[in-house]
């Protein structure tokens, strides 16, 4: 506890002299207790997002394509089941990871493969052997083509990052416009009790560390597929 007091002591001592506000380096004296910056305006500065659902869906689709993620709007569960089956057969899935959820349970039943379910607790080696991790999500973000997940909505921390293919099952009413909307949503949904892990997933794992050449699947999934009912 001692170092804590030392650090706070030095901070308070240092802050006795006020620093000029950004853009007011030549004014004096600075106003330390002026109103905080207006974070509410962020939306006006970030990239533009359309107003209608169709525009947002189109933007999400465009962004995911640029990120080399696969995005499929599906009409109904029948189509979802069919497409999942195609994916399983094309990639030769042997085993899947999933968590308990309405859509994931449907997918698990359709796929009829050996399963590693994360929610009751699992062995890492078991999940490591899965061809795909199937999760639900909290929201989709049109502005950036992101999938918002938490440890509660997506079966913990590892399911959406350890297997080589992450499959997201979302509903169309989960599509949000932009990042300010995503954080407002998080606050509204969880503010009384936040999950220990929250992530915005934007495309499959990637690196450019070798000559700035894009390689997918650096550590996380090489493929990200998003189905939207």
């Amino acid at each position: 506890m001692n170092e804590r007091e030392n650090i706070f002591g030095r901070i308070r001592e240092a802050l006795r002299v006020a620093a000029p506000r950004p853009g007011h380096e030549h004014d004096s004296p600075p106003h330390l207790d002026a109103a905080p910056a207006p974070a509410g305006n962020t939306r006006q500065w970030l990239p533009l997002v359309g107003n209608s659902f169709e525009e947002r869906l189109a933007l999400f689709e465009k962004n995911t394509a640029a990120l080399k993620a696969d995005f499929f709007p599906v009409k109904d569960r029948e189509e979802l089941g069919r497409r999942l089956g195609e994916l399983r057969d094309r990639e030769g899935w042997k085993k899947i990871g999933a968590h308990n959820g309405e859509l994931t349970n449907f997918a698990v039943a359709e796929l009829a493969l050996p399963l590693c379910r994360t929610d009751p607790g699992y062995e890492v080696a078991d999940l490591e052997n899965c061809s795909a991790g199937i999760t639900e999500c909290d929201a989709l973000v049109a502005q950036t083509g992101s999938v918002l997940v938490t440890s509660r909505s997506a079966g913990g921390r590892a399911l959406s990052v350890l297997p080589p293919h992450h499959v997201v099952l979302a509903r169309r009413e989960q599509l949000l416009a932009d990042l300010p909307g995503a954080f407002a949503f998080l606050k509204q949904k969880y503010s009384s009790n936040y999950p220990s892990f929250i992530s915005l997933i934007t495309g499959p794992s990637r690196t450019g560390d070798i000559e700035r050449i894009l390689v997918l699947g650096a550590h996380g999934p090489k493929k990200l597929t998003i189905f939207c009912l």
């Binding site: 802050l15 962004n63 994360t118 913990g156 921390r157 990052v161 936040y194 070798i210 700035r212």
Partner: protein, 464 residues
């Protein structure tokens, strides 16, 4: 000149003439610039976003005691153990203490510049522990026993050929020149390290006071695995990483990505608010957060340069800096290189020993212009110069300016010196480029324009 400055000068001279180095850096940064500008252009108002980001960081840093306290209270409420370190040594001891208490053997690390700052890897290895960097670029430079070249692109100075050679030598992998194959080799090796690691160690990009969470920005997923698999997780971060509110991330995450790598948003932006909570299937059983001062409070005490603590370590100022692009990251000999490194290193490590970095600048201001949080970088280089010479005046410099003032204040003397200068300049080629030249260090690489044959005064007099 002190030894550190002498080494900087020698390395700078060598790398400036190294054409292969220049080629690698120009290619890498050329690609980066193209995407960065395109992503930046998608913002509706980039300048307003910069101003807002600067104001939010100003708010956080200038009320650091309040926000830090809020951050820690919220973090502790969910069972995180918070540690405080005034110095690098204390931080190393705290981390070693956790490792020993847990009887851990191996540590998997995701990228953390603060750990470079306190030389954590060396300390852990010396104590007999295995520590593995999991970020691909960091893994590469760790294998080469080098410091990261750049705070965002650690292996930017290497070609795929260099990396292939390194991997075949150190990992025994089959030779390949394909970046994808090279990445998969590292992925395979590191996956095994993950499964065996006892402790996951991370840095942090932001600390959200309102909710008590740390935010990690990455592309590879290595930090996510580090935070998901090992039983114990440790995060080391500087006390200045604070943001007041959760929604501030809606601005900072895309701005960091835009200037950092040219992406609209990096692949994974994750928030960690504690160890595994009741009902959660995985994540560490224990979570430790180590808050590091390491002379940040000294920088905080300098109100004039306090905004240097706004830095979000995007690397943008390095990428645009003509000095960085020529002398390269390692030449600085510091944890943080480029303009921001030149500004803060004298505060973190001593002004007199590191002041030379503030002179290694053309003062073009490209750094200040690109900075997403509007740090007054190139002016701070001037502030460092002023502070250094105020603290320890240079006799030679003083004498030069005294004589200059003496001459220009006396028209008669000025006239004589002017004539003498015109005459002496004719003789200059005899000594130029040799040590006999009194202005050798200046004229060695420069041409002095000839002094005019006629002054304006003379011209005016003749004209009438």
């Amino acid at each position: 000149m002190n030894p550190v400055a002498r080494e900087f000068k020698a390395n700078a001279r060598r790398l400036t003439a190294d054409l292969r180095h220049r080629d690698l850096i120009q290619t890498a940064l050329g690609k980066y610039e193209a995407v960065r500008d395109k992503t930046k252009a998608a913002f509706q108002d980039w300048q307003a976003a910069r101003q807002a980001a600067a104001e939010i960081k100003w708010e956080a840093v200038n009320h650091l005691d309040r926000y830090l306290d809020e951050f820690v209270r919220n973090l502790e409420a969910r069972g995180t153990k918070v540690h405080w370190a005034s110095t690098g040594r204390q931080a190393r001891e705290i981390i070693l203490g956790i490792i020993r208490e847990k009887k851990a053997r191996s540590i998997i690390k995701s990228k953390a510049m603060t750990s470079e700052e306190i030389h954590l890897n060396e300390a852990l290895e010396e104590a007999g522990f295995e520590v593995v960097e999991s970020d691909l670029g960091e893994f590469i430079v760790q294998l080469r026993k080098e410091a990261p070249y750049h705070i965002v692109f650690p292996a930017m100075h290497l070609s795929r050929g260099d990396i292939n050679e390194l991997f075949t030598r150190e990992l025994g992998s089959a030779p390949t020149q394909n970046p994808e194959d090279l990445t998969m080799i590292a992925r395979g090796v590191l996956r095994q390290k993950y499964l065996a690691a006892d402790i996951g160690f991370t840095g942090a990009n932001f600390a959200v006071a309102e909710t008590g969470m740390i935010s990690i920005t990455e592309n590879e997923g290595n930090a996510r695995l580090t935070a998901a698999l090992p039983k114990v997780m440790v995060t080391l971060l500087g006390i200045e990483k604070i943001l007041p509110r959760l929604e501030d991330l809606a601005l900072f995450l895309p701005m960091l990505a835009t200037i950092g790598t040219g992406q609209a948003l990096t692949c994974y932006n994750s928030l960690y608010g504690g160890p595994r909570q009741p009902g959660e299937p995985d994540g560490p059983e224990e979570y430790h957060v180590v808050l590091l001062d390491n002379r940040r409070t000294e920088l905080l005490a300098d109100a004039e340069q306090r905004d240097a603590l706004h830095c979000i370590r995007c690397g943008g100022c390095l990428n645009v800096c003509p000095i960085f692009r020529n002398v390269g990251g390692h030449t600085y000999g510091t944890t943080y290189s480029g303009p921001i490194g030149s500004v803060i290193t004298p505060h973190l490590r001593g002004l007199q020993e590191w002041k030379h970095l503030s002179y290694a600048s053309s003062l073009c201001g490209a750094c200040t212009e690109v900075c997403p949080v509007k740090i007054n970088l190139h002016h701070h280089l001037l502030h460092n110069r002023r502070n250094a010479s105020r603290q320890k005046p240079s006799l030679a410099e003083k004498l030069t300016f005294k004589s200059f003032a003496f001459i220009v204040n006396r028209p008669g003397v000025y006239r004589v010196v002017k004539r003498a200068g015109r005459l002496l300049q004719k003789l200059h080629p005899l000594v130029k480029g040799t040590r006999l030249d009194p202005a050798y260090s200046w004229t060695r690489t420069r041409e002095l324009p000839p002094i005019a044959r006629q002054t304006f005064k003379e011209y005016w007099r003749n004209r009438r």
